[in-house]
């Protein structure tokens, strides 16, 4: 198999809080291949945003390795990271908070070119005009300020900024969660179109399974700092193996006539345990409808669920453990 674009191994990121240390990302392994979309899904507090931010090195990892295009970037200094950042960009949930309110759209979009010293002034102006058009905005928008644009238009600007230098990986952290459905559809279509034009890979982080299920080629499910299941979308959709994945999928509310049968609801007990003090063994055992004595004692490894079926579907659950 080809070398992955991004290879994350045993990644750990702690957050120090008043009440102790949170292992927000606790031993994550995952890979993103060139041109694909990996969806990362989980509930609030599971560590998915921390994982995304650590991958683009907005946080420094505490343990583990991040290999991007064959280069270990987990310990690079800010200066050393600069050329990597050209290749790896991020889009955030709240475009208003991530755009400087005092600058015009043109200034915001010119910045990637000046920071990385790409092109002459005139070329930069031309590239910005192209970007504005590519994300579906009117040329006049370039001379406005972020507050003069709607939420959807602002998100188009954040996307334009992220793709300005044609990165090979874009980490999208809940990019459509703050938008109305009709606007959400516009942004999703835009992301899809840009990907087919440029061939960038996306790590798409969301709590919304419908969006992830629509966009992703593969899906990783995260729970309390760990990946509990990762598989091609179709395999995961048709046959989720981890009881947590099953519970998540069964909670999706689909806009279909009430008479259409739904997945049987798999209910979980209680709330998400505190990440300050995660449960022993399998972290899901306190809420799992199929918990066994073994689950309390030891953590199941993330392993191939059906190696004979071509592989690619990995799950961390004692129910599916192959010795």
């Amino acid at each position: 198999m080809l070398q992955p674009l991004l290879d994350v191994k045993s990644l750990v990121k702690y957050h120090a809080t008043h009440s102790g240390t949170v292992r927000a990302v606790d031993g994550v392994d995952l890979q993103v291949h060139a041109g694909e979309t990996l969806g990362l899904v989980g509930e609030s507090g599971c560590g998915k945003s921390t994982l995304g931010r650590t991958i683009v090195r907005l946080h420094d990892p505490d343990e583990g390795r991040i290999t991007f295009k064959g280069q270990d970037i987990s310990r690079l200094s800010r200066r050393e990271l600069r050329p990597v950042r050209r290749q790896m960009q991020m889009v955030f949930q709240d475009p208003y908070a991530s755009l400087n309110p005092r600058r015009t759209i043109r200034q915001i979009l010119t910045e990637p070119f000046t920071v990385h010293d790409v092109g002459t002034r005139r070329e930069q102006t031309q590239r910005v005009d192209e970007l504005v058009a590519r994300v579906g905005l009117h040329p006049d928008h370039a001379d406005r300020h972020p507050h003069e644009l709607s939420g959807g238009q602002r998100q188009r600007i954040s996307i334009a900024r992220a793709i300005a230098l044609e990165p090979s990986l874009v980490v999208c952290d809940e990019p459509v969660s703050a938008l109305d459905v009709s606007i959400q559809a516009q942004i999703i279509n835009l992301l899809r179109r840009l990907q087919s034009e440029s061939g960038s890979a996306y790590l798409f982080i969301s709590h919304d399974l419908s969006v992830i299920g629509y966009l992703a080629d593969r899906i990783a499910v995260m729970y309390l700092g760990e990946i509990v299941e990762i598989a091609p979308k179709r395999a995961l959709w048709n046959q989720p193996l981890h009881p947590y994945t099953q519970a998540l999928f069964s909670a999706i509310a689909e806009p279909l006539p009430p008479s259409v049968p739904r997945r049987p609801r798999v209910s979980m007990k209680g709330d998400l345990p505190s990440p300050l003090n995660p449960p022993s063994g399998c972290r899901f055992h306190t809420r799992c409808p199929q918990v066994m004595p073994r689950c309390r004692e030891a953590a199941p490894p993330l392993q191939e669920a059906s190696p004979e079926a071509g592989g690619g579907h990995r799950v961390a659950c004692w129910l599916h453990h192959v010795p």
Partner: protein
Amino acid sequence: MSTAEPVLQVRGLRTEFLSRSKRWFPVVNEVDLQVRAGETLAVVGESGCGKSMLAYSIMRLLPKRIARNAGGQVLLRERDLLALDEPQMRAVRGKDISMVFQEPMTSLNPLMTVGRQILESVVEHERCTPEEAHRRVIDLMDLVGIPEPEARFHQYPHHLSGGMRQRIVIAIALACRPQVLIADEPTTALDVTIQAQVLELIDRLKRELGMGVILITHDLGVVAEWSQRVMVMYAGRKVEEADAETFFSAPAHPYSRALLASVPRPDMSVDGAFAPLTEIRGAVPPLDRLGAGCAFAQRCDRADASCTATTPPLQTSAFRAVACFKADATDITSSGTAHAAAIA
């Protein structure tokens, strides 16, 4: 379906806001609705379409300085809430009709234990001994599924998770067993699994207590799973209303159709072929600058000159009501089951 008597009837409701240029303009425009006991009516639409304004108008919670009622009735059983003075309305609010808001943290007092907050709404409307009141609070906490209510009574909101906080808010809203509960995006701030638990709770309590529920949401999936009737609002007006089966099998208004087609679904792309989502071009127009005719016309693929000339009236059949000149006659008169049969 439900043949129970309507507990809430809204007739011709019109609410106006004061614009910056000191002109009154409608944010809720000629809206009629009714909710029966044991029924959930979903009100859907994008932000800015007037669904929260409708709820606040019914609850009479809008600031007088910039908002006014400009017609219509809000009948709770036989009583017109719009005719009540403020002290009378205060006695109704929280007792006969209650509201649950989107963000539980902002509707709870961070400096008061959750038990005290539920207690307040019990003693506000009912005379009872302290022991009885305490008992009622524990029962309510039990009813909304809060484990160890005696211990939780003394905790503060920040001790609880988002889902537990929303349960407290629901317990407060239900303290006096209201006839009508208005839930304004009650689960938007919550995770999917917790969302399902909270909606299941509202649904169970609705049946047990015989309440009518108005569920305001932008999430059409939630509507499909938890409501019996659907009302779509656009620019302050009701543009479509139907039972849930009819609505989701054959939406008639172009806005309803476009909304449904813009929701991503995993099965749309699971077999490799990838259908782009339907986009609705543009955005909801600002309500203080609405022109003549149908407010959706600028974004509508079916619109022509007739749409911008006059406002389409609601055409009503046995199955639904639609305000559109371009909806086919069959769209208006067929039910969901008839539609399903036609396809089969």
